[in-house]
Homo-oligomer: 369 residues x 2
DNA sequence: CTGAAAGCGCTTACAG
DNA sequence: CTGAAAGCGCTTACAG
């Protein structure tokens, strides 16, 4: 019907009149669904309220300039017609989607879901939409999100963990608003929200030493990542302080998969290096070590001292429960998004001023391992 | 600069010429960032390629009607200028955001992340954007997502688990495209993708009976939910078949929290009802029971027969590992989104024809419990 | 095969 | 305090 009306009217005014006629007609005879599509514009509200579309727009945007009486009249009509603004139009007009994206490597690790939860909260607190996406190690998925930036669907992006590589980041940085979460890139002056990984690595190692461990293995994530590097620095420092020689071959990288972790640990043991304590990059890795010990595919004593990173609920449901460095995951997500939105809103501020590392506090929770 | 240009030119043509002049100027002197904002429209591409904006648009949309030579010329200019279409404009023009939303109760349970992963894949396979959001039991968050529907930012929605109540669903159903995932509402004719919960409940119970259990407790989720009801039906049926009396007080609801689960189990035991087998609504609940048994806050034997639902990785990292009904979570997410997009694309098809329950296969994995 | 023009539904400087 | 009008950057029926 809409379509037919359109062909039938070349003149704008005529068109509107027909529409109005149709609209009052439909109010009686058509279902809510069809009615909605026929009256969804600001123009219809304006007509009903006997004001211009400009005034309706002002009311919608809470412009204090409109006379209270006018405002109330318009508000009443808006409610009556159950009018909802079309954000597609608003976005185009304002050249802003009020949407940001956060990309995560995956969602299978509860580590990431906590970060996402904080991110979501920050977005809503600032009336932004947020699209949280997981890369799943597929470059084309990442490209999809970056494309949202390029096609104006998103205004900024936060990369969590190593969801972006250094080259791509550099390329994007001078064109888009970006915040990094938990991982930074040395030499790149970007905003990054993380914990003090060096200190945390130091503290974990120190705790194991306190318990009498002197052969401490370190199962890391990606060896190139800044968090890994920093934690290892802390690890080395604690060893040095205690006069324990540092052995690089007691460090092994592993992904968050059982087979990887098993190989990493067994690899160290296979070199003839005894292990009486372990630090892992994640709770998930620690849980896999426990699994391996139990099923005897990892040749470690039942009660090996182990400290993991993250502090997700996983560390509480294993048997034994895991001692862990608790990262403020929710806050990490919240703060990243908050910083990004600050950048977005604060266009005028010199970009350079706000960049840099933001460190959030962590703490250790001692459990059974 | 853009702003000044604008004030200086009231005539469209003059405006464009100034812009063009500025653009060739900036190509030499300004950074990529500023250059971008100055040349980002289809109009500029048209000018450079000596064609109309209509032709550029046709090329962009792969309209086969354009002459190959023209097409190549335009394509070259697009590449040269590094032009990216403004989706904000396209969306408004086409009155379609090509975006759908999936709402989940939370993301802390890996159960939901797997569903989300499948959903994401389905969206991308169909060139849709997807916004995955978690309610966290807050009605205002849910309203935010529903508002995306109302303001044209999203074209459809899938509700996972009990992220929506019956009343709201009924209200939304005749105005928007909706798919339910894992949970349906009796009496509401909506598309729902789930497993055969009754059969799964039957199978789990049957397995426990086969092992000699006759005092089987059932820790459920929300008692009103369709999946719970169906599983309990299957549970009853299996008991009946084995001639075991059904005791409603051996069923207790609990949220996915340790304290809730503990209370639920202890509540049953406290009534003087012995338990030699347990079925739980989720892996998470089962892991909590294991935790409770270990720390002796739940008075159950170490080796109680237990079967959980979901089949997430949680069931593998506990000690003992958990026997579980594996739901095809990824497929559940994928199929829900796929069905939704089918509805979106297939406007013409009678809505009623496609509605109904879609059942996906599950299976049981026997582990240590 | 291509272009001129209208229009998607908003916002906002300008004039009154 | 309010309205008329231009414009955000696209798409598409229509004419040629």
């Amino acid at each position: 019907m809409w379509y037919l009306l359109y062909i039938a009217s070349f003149c704008n005014r005529l068109h509107s009149e027909l529409l109005a006629a149709a609209s009052s007609f439909t109010a009686i005879t058509l279902s809510a669904k069809e009615d909605r599509s026929a009256m969804s514009s600001i123009k219809e509200v304006a007509k009903q309220a006997n004001v211009s579309v400009a005034t309706v727009s002002r009311v919608l945007n809470n412009d204090p300039v409109v006379k209270p009486a006018t405002k109330n009249k318009v508000l009443r009509v808006i409610k009556e017609m159950n009018y909802k603004p079309n954000m597609l139009a608003k976005n185009l007009r304002k050249q802003a989607s009020r949407t940001i994206v956060m990309v995560l490597p995956s969602m299978s690790n509860p580590y990431f879901s906590e970060i996402a939860r904080g991110a979501q909260a920050a977005a809503y607190d600032n009336a932004y939409n947020i699209i949280i996406g997981t890369i799943e190690s597929k470059r084309w998925i990442l490209d999809t999100y970056i494309n949202m930036l390029k096609t104006n669907l998103a205004e900024g992006i936060v990369f969590v963990s190593s969801s972006v590589n250094k080259e791509l980041l550099e390329e994007l940085m001078d064109e888009y608003k970006i915040v990094l979460c938990t991982e930074y890139y040395p030499g790149i002056n970007a905003t990054c929200v993380a914990i003090d990984n060096k200190r945390a690595g130091y503290e974990a190692t120190k705790e194991l030493i306190r318990r009498g461990c002197s052969h401490i293995a370190y199962i890391t994530g990606n060896r190139e990542s800044s968090s890994v590097t920093a934690r290892i620095e802390g690890y080395k420092e604690a060893l040095k302080e205690a006069g324990i020689p540092y052995r690089p071959d007691r460090i092994a990288g592993a992904k968050n998969r059982f087979d990887h972790v098993k190989e990493a640990v067994n690899g160290i043991i296979g070199q003839g290096l005894p292990i009486d304590g372990i630090i892992t990059h994640s709770d998930l890795q620690a849980s896999y070590i426990l699994k391996g010990i139990k099923e005897k595919s990892i040749a470690l004593p039942e009660r090996v001292g182990m400290i993991s990173f993250d502090g997700t609920f996983l560390a509480e449901i294993t048997n034994p429960t895991i001692t862990t460095i608790v990262q403020p995951l929710y806050d990490l997500g919240y703060t990243s998004v908050h910083k990004l939105i600050l950048k977005l809103v604060n266009e005028s501020a010199e970009a350079g001023e706000e960049e840099g590392l933001v460190l959030l506090p962590h703490h250790m929770v001692i459990r059974e391992t």
